[in-house]
């Protein structure tokens, strides 16, 4: 029972997560049926909403951008044998980092203020993950609990700052002033229009390109650098890491900081790309869905991009669906994420075991 269930690699990276998603969808379908709607029709509406128009695709990719960042953030800690569930808080702090730069420096030209704002988002996100990492390494408190607490600490800190310090003067709602135009990350339809290409208007912005670059960066770091080798060694076998002269503490700090920086980049999409001001709760659960994305994408950037697009479709399609079928609200997507986390994560064995059984029988009859 305790021995890992052996599967061919392709099945492990594609078949198992796909089956997990299918099971999650079947359960979700039953829920839709339970509230008196037709799940097949709902699925069709959802797909149409997500992919049926240029605008829909734009929105899908805009949502996917968030999931890529948070999914990568979770994945990189998985490789180091850690579990960062503080993506929400790190994203919130990322928003603060970006906003602090923009509010103070947005008189500068875009080519100075935008890179600085992105770095600001990464830096504060990284800090918010580094501290729990540091407390684990030096003080023995587990990152899981500490990152949960840091989610709430980030939320209260940002509320305080928005209400008392950086909020828009004279405004009742807790948000900053709108940043100057030099601090807006261009929409993709604007950027492409510059090159004469016309695509439908959507919130999709250059962050999507950054997200793809971040995916490539994570892929190269994890599999093609000495640091990545050290991270994976620590994740697979701490004793082998010690033998190899790799400092587990150092790797913990580095991977937590990288993870936080990636989660912080969520703010690049939401704050610099779309909202152009800091406001409350812009991370709205994307940090947690990153866990589903990382589990489903098997912690590999390619898998994460694909899983993010799937969740982007769910978000966008779900929004459209809720117009057509008001009984099926976007909360459906949160429930589906929960189911995916359950079946691709905690109940993973429930799917792997039968699959492994089928493979074993197949191999036996084939031999």
């Amino acid at each position: 029972m305790s021995t890992p269930i052996e599967l061919p690699k392709w099945a492990d990276v594609s078949l198992v997560p796909i089956l997990a998603v299918i099971v999650a969808f079947l359960v979700a379908g039953l829920v839709v049926l339970g509230i008196g709607e037709n799940p097949v029709k709902a699925t069709v509406l959802l797909i149409q909403g997500a992919l049926g128009s240029g605008e829909g695709i734009g929105y899908t990719l805009y949502y996917a951008t968030n999931f890529i960042f948070t999914g990568l953030a979770v994945a990189i800690t998985f490789h180091a044998g850690l579990f960062n569930i503080g993506g929400e808080g790190q994203a919130t702090m990322g928003g603060l980092g970006a906003a602090l730069i923009c509010l103070n420096l947005d008189f500068l030209p875009w080519y100075i203020v935008l890179p600085l704002a992105i770095l600001g988002a990464m830096a504060l996100g990284a800090l918010w993950a580094f501290i729990p990492g540091y407390l684990q390494v030096k003080r023995g408190s587990h990152v899981v609990i500490t990152t949960i607490m840091f989610n709430f600490l980030a939320a209260t800190l940002v509320v305080y700052l928005l209400v008392n310090v950086i909020g828009k003067p004279g405004s009742m709602s807790p948000e900053t002033r709108v940043f100057a135009a030099s601090a807006h990350l261009p929409y993709l339809h604007e950027a492409l229009a510059y090159f004469g290409l016309k695509i439908p208007k959507s919130p999709l912005n250059l962050s999507f390109v950054l997200a793809l670059l971040a995916s490539a960066f994570v892929w190269i770091t994890v599999w093609h650098t000495k640091l990545g080798y050290a991270i994976r060694t620590v994740g697979h076998s701490p004793t082998a890491a010690t033998y190899a002269g790799i400092s587990i503490g150092r790797i913990t700090l580095i991977s937590m900081a990288m993870s936080g920086a990636l989660a912080g980049m969520l703010a690049v999409n939401e704050i610099l790309g779309v909202q152009t001001r800091l406001l409350l709760e812009f991370s709205s659960g994307y940090g947690f869905i990153g866990i589903a994305v990382a589990l489903m994408g098997r912690a590999h950037p390619v898998g994460i991009v694909l899983a993010s697009i799937l969740f982007g479709m769910l978000y966008q399609g779900g929004t459209e669906l809720s117009f057509e079928m008001p009984r099926v609200t976007r909360d459906m997507i949160v429930a589906i994420s929960g189911l995916v986390i359950l079946f691709a994560g905690a109940l993973d064995g429930l799917i792997r075991r039968p699959v492994a059984g089928v493979f074993a029988r197949f191999l036996k009859s084939g031999a």
Binding site: W223, H224, Y229, R232, T233, H236, A240, Y243, I246
Partner: protein
């Protein structure tokens, strides 16, 4: 001691078989233990003693064979059933809940009712009774985690006795005890037997067998090879039986061309994470071009010594010098030791020497991952490590020749060759070798031995730690033996025998007749 004629033995096992996958842990084991006796079971590590006792205690069910307790055939499917049959067990790793009190630990599973208070009063009375009968005095309200090891073991024994055990199994009970505590334990075991309890003592220490048992059974490689009356045997005979006649390995090696002293260890003292003493004042040196064999039963401080030399754990006291340079201050970490030319083939390749989930190529650079040969600056070149591995695979005949195959998919012998190739190819000055042929097929054993000899002839100082006596005998130029954290003797292969080494390994330091 004459087992009463006509009375059924307390325990009779016959034809017990137990397999774990490919490993045959017990094969056709027969054992009869007379009621009211102390019965020793000896054997090297992995001989199958613990598996046999786990079957008796209901942790495992045997694949085949029968168990009789006091003449009645029984099936023991769980510890609960074993307890009901009057079998108690004192595990080598205590089954105690450290933050709880002694009384709570003793009561666990035998509470005497849903509310503790009533059963607790009875249990306290029972403990007082046992304290009187056997001298097992203990404060019932002490927190177990605060007690010294000897008293923790007493709690384990009390747990068995209050449940009415009349058969008591003790698995390596003295491994954690001081000599005084061990002496007290033996007195207790004799008292228990005198009162009609049956005691099974599992150990690899022959002096304990001689001191306390009535009968002794010897296990070797999953089989029960002999059962003898203790009075009619000798440590030498038992050592002989334990070690057995191994296939003599054909290793041809010329005389050693000894160079200067490479590695020198002086007065090394090592405590483990629980600050118990593992290595007690050990000193030795190794010369260039020499293989120093370190023999001993596993768990007598060799592993800690090896890890301390490799920089993985820090010794409490003493010095380690390489060519006269103090390694503990100059190169405290594994990475720095490696740079100094102290390379290490660890005892446990699965957990330490390799990463089973990595490709062979990735495992091939473990410990050398920062080497610029495998990528410039921060980058790691997959092509470079693949090429490097392909070359090593040819040199060391590692099969299959697939550098991207997962390490776990290679056989034990080929995995070990990956480690061997990696460490040898990085030109060691000193090579620390732990259990180089454990779980390795015969062909690979020969290959590994030849490589080690060639390395020695090239002037490398080698420390060979092995529980395989034949390996120690055929490879070493000099042999030291460890038992209980101290060096119990130094020999050369020419002036010793398996039996002599067996005695030293068992802690019998005077030369036996």
């Amino acid at each position: 001691m004459n087992p009463m004629a006509g009375q059924a033995p307390a325990i009779a096992l016959s034809g017990i078989d137990k397999r774990f996958g490919e490993v045959r842990a017990n094969s056709n084991v027969n054992l009869a233990v007379a009621s009211g006796s102390v019965h020793g079971i000896v054997g090297e590590n992995g001989a199958g003693k613990s598996t046999l006792m786990s079957i008796l205690y209901g942790f495992y069910e045997a694949d085949r064979g029968t168990i009789h307790i006091h003449g009645n055939q029984v099936r023991i499917r769980s510890p609960k059933e074993a307890i009901a049959l009057g079998i108690g067990m004192v595990h080598q790793h205590f089954m105690l809940v450290e933050p709880l009190s002694v009384i709570d630990n003793v009561m666990l599973g035998a509470e005497g009712g849903p509310i503790l208070a009533k059963g607790e009063a009875q249990m306290r009375a029972a403990l007082a009774q046992l304290a009187e009968t056997y001298g097992l005095v203990i404060d019932p309200d002490a927190v177990v985690g605060d007690l010294p090891v000897g008293l923790q073991q007493r709690v384990e024994i009390l747990k068995a006795l209050v449940r009415g055990a009349d058969i008591l199994i003790l698995d390596e009970p003295t491994a954690v005890l001081t000599p005084d505590e061990a002496e007290q334990l033996f007195v207790l075991l004799r008292t228990l037997a005198a009162q009609g309890k049956t005691v099974i003592l599992i150990t690899h220490k022959l002096n304990e067998i001689m001191a306390v048992t009535d009968n002794v059974s010897v296990m070797r490689r999953g089989e029960m090879v002999a059962t003898l009356k203790t009075a009619e045997t000798s440590p030498a005979q038992l050592a002989d039986q334990m070690v057995g006649r191994h296939v003599l390995l054909d290793v041809s090696k010329g005389p050693a061309k000894l160079g200067p002293v490479r590695l020198s260890v002086e007065h090394l003292i090592i405590r483990d994470a629980h600050s118990s003493l593992r290595v007690k004042d050990v000193s030795f040196e190794i010369r260039a071009g020499e293989i120093l064999g370190l023999a001993g039963v596993a768990g007598n401080g060799q592993s800690e010594l090896l890890e301390a030399l490799a920089g993985i754990i820090t010794p409490t006291l003493g010095s380690i010098t390489l060519d006269g340079q103090d390694l503990i201050t100059l190169a405290p970490t594994p990475a720095e030791r490696r740079e100094q030319g102290v390379l290490h083939i660890p005892e446990d390749r699965q957990r330490m020497g390799l990463v089973p989930a990595f490709s062979a190529a990735e495992s091939m650079i473990l410990g050398f991952q920062s080497d610029n040969a495998f990528g410039t600056g921060p980058m790691l070149s997959t092509a470079a490590i693949q090429t490097h591995t392909a070359k090593e695979m040819d040199l060391y005949d590692i099969r299959p020749r697939d550098a991207s195959l997962k390490t776990a998919k290679f056989s034990g012998g080929n995995q070990q060759k990956i480690v061997l190739a990696r460490e040898i190819e990085h030109r060691p000055k000193v090579l620390l070798v732990g259990q180089p042929t454990r779980g390795v097929d015969v062909g690979a054993i020969e290959f590994i031995h030849k490589r080690l000899i060639a390395l020695r002839d090239a002037g490398v100082a080698i420390l060979l730690v092995s529980v395989e006596l034949d390996e120690i005998m055929s490879l070493s130029d000099r042999i030291i033996v460890m038992c209980g954290g101290v060096i119990t003797g130094e020999r050369t292969p020419e002036t010793t025998s398996d039996r002599d080494l067996g005695l030293l390994m068992a802690g019998v330091t005077e030369r036996a007749a």
